[in-house]
Amino acid sequence: MIKIEMMNTVVKHLYHAFGHVLFAMALMWVTALPARAALELEISGGSAIQIPIAILPMAESASPSSTSRLHDIISNDLRGSGMFRIINTSGMPALPTSASQIKYTDWTALKAQGLSLGEVQQAANGNIKVSVQVMDVLRQTALLQLTYTVSPSQYRHVAHLIADQIYEKFTGQPGAFATRIAYVTKVGKRFTLQIADYDGFNAQTLVSSNEPIISPAWSPDGSKMAYVSFEKKKPIVFVQSLYTGERKIVANFKGNNSAPAWSPDGSKLAVVLTYGANSQIYTISADGSNLQQITKSSAIDTEPAFSPDGSAIYFSSDRGGRPQIYKVSATGGTPTRVTFEGGYNVSPRFSPDGKYLAYIRNDGGAFKVAVQDLGTGDVKLLSTGSQDESPSFAPNARTIMYATRVGGKGTLATVTVDGLVRQRLSEAGGDIREPAWGPAQAAPK
C-alpha cells in the first residue's frame, strides 16, 4: 500500500521528483503536516545574572491569526535561553508602538535595560512587513532597527530572527532561535523522521515507515538529511534532500550500514559498515562513491564524528575493553584514546566552535550527557536522567539537545553547556528520540 498525502507544494515536488522510488518502498510515505505545536516547551533554571528586558506587543495590522503573537514568540525565546528576565508589561497603562512614544522614566522605574517595540503591516504580493526597534533604556538610543518583508508563513521565523539579534546585542554571543531540529517519533509501531523549528513548531515529516529510523544527520548547509532506515529489513544509509525530495541510498553493503556523519565541507560522510564482521568506520562520498576504510580493528568502532576542521574523526570503540572515545586522522591511521575518566563513554559530538566535546557516559548504570572542555580537559555531567543519549549542539554551541525518558516516554531535553538552564520538549501520544540540531539558517529572502 502506498499512501501519498500532499498538503502543500513542497510535498508535490517531493512526489514528482521521487514517485518511482516511493513506489519501490512499500509501506512508506512522505507527508507534510500542517504547522502545529507538536512539542511542548518546559523551562527550568536560569543564569545567575539575567538581563531585564521589555518586549512590547507590536501594532499588528496584517499578521496571521493562527499563531502566537510576535512579541510572545520573541519573549519565549529569550526567557528560555535563561539569559533574560522578561518584564511583565500587563499593568502598564499605555504601551508605545514607536520610539517617539516612549516615556523612558516608566521603563527605568521597572529596571528595564532593553525595550523592544514595532509593527507588522501589509506589504505587496501578500507579504507582511515586520519593523522592530530595540532601545537601550538608559542611553535612550536605538540598539537595533530591523525590517523584514516576508511571506506570512515566515512569521514565526522572523520572530526567531529578531530574538537572535536581541540575544546577540545584549550577550555578545550569537543566538540559535532561528534554527531547526530533526528527530524521530515512534507512535504505536510507526516511525517518522521529522524536522521542526527548534521550539517544536512547524513540524514536517520527511519519512514515515513501519521499520525503525535512526541517526538523522544534517548536511552542513542544512539542505540534506542523512539517516539510517531499516525499511529493507537491515540498516541502510540514505541521504534525502529537504527541498527537492531526492532520496538516495549512500551505503547499502552486505551487513549493517549506519551512523552517518557529514564532513564539515559536506563532500563526504563517515559511515559504519560491517560486511561480515564487526562494525568499522569508513568514509564515502556523498554520492555513494569512493569508499575508504578508516579503522581496522577486531573491536567495535562506531559513532563517528568529524572534528569541526575536518582533520580528525572521533568515534566510540571497545578496543581497550570497555567503550571509550578515540580519535583518528580523517584519512586513517593509528587511533589515540580521548576519554580516560569513567568506564564507559560513547557518542562523541563536537560543538560547532570546536571548544567542547559532548558524549554519553554510563555513570553507575545511568546513561548521562557529559561535556568535556577540550581546552582544559574538564568534564562535567550535564543531564539528570538515566537513559540519556544522542547529544547534539546548537549552532551557537551554548546548548545541547539530547534524548531522555520521562515517565517511561521518550522526550527531548536541552541543557546549556554551563548546566544552568534546562528545557524539555515532549509530544503527546508518542516517543521522541534521536534529536539532531540543524545548522544556522540564512535569513529569508
Binding site: 560491517t274 561480515g276 564487526n278 562506531t302 560513547v346 546513561f367 537513559q387 544522542s390
Partner: protein, 184 residues
Amino acid sequence: MNKTIWTIAALALVLTACKSTPMNPAKVEDSSVTRPMANANSNAGADSAANTDKINIKTVDVDTSKDELSAAELAKRQVFFDYDSDAIREEYKGLVANHAKYLVAHPQTKVVLQGNTDERGTHEYNLALGQRRSVAVKNALNVLGVSDSQIETVSYGEERSKQNCADDGCFQQDRRVDIVYAGQ
C-alpha cells in the same frame, strides 16, 4: 485425540509442502488443516500416531531426513545472550549445530542473522553490539561448515526491544540473535 499429535501431524503436512526452508510451527498451529495425514512421514522412521497420550513422536522433515533433524529442532530460531556478552551459551550450541547441519545439506539456502540488544545504551552502539552477536553465531556456523555466502549478519540493535523493562527477565528476551531464513 491427542492435541499434540494433531499439531505434529499438521506440521509434517506443511513441511512436506515446503521444499527448501523449514517452517515456523507457531504459524502452522493456526492453519486450517482439518484432516491431517498422521502417517505422511511414516516412511521416515517416525513412530505411528497411535491412540495413546504417552507416545513420543519424532517428526522428521522429509526434505532433510538424512539429517535426522526434527521440525521442532529447526523451529528454534533464537539464541539468547548474557548482558554485554556475545558468547554463545552452552545451552544454545545444539540449536546452532542443528541449523548448521541444515544449511550444509542445503547450500542454496540463505539465512540472515539478526542481532538484537536490550534498550540500555545508545542506538548506534547497540547496533554494533547486536552485530557482534550475529557475527558470533555466524562464526559458530562457519566452524560447522556453513559457507559465508549463505549468511548475512545484520543488527537491529535496540530497535525491536521491549521498552521500559523493569527487570532482567524482560531485558533478557531482547538480547538475542534471530535466525531468519531467506524468503520468510
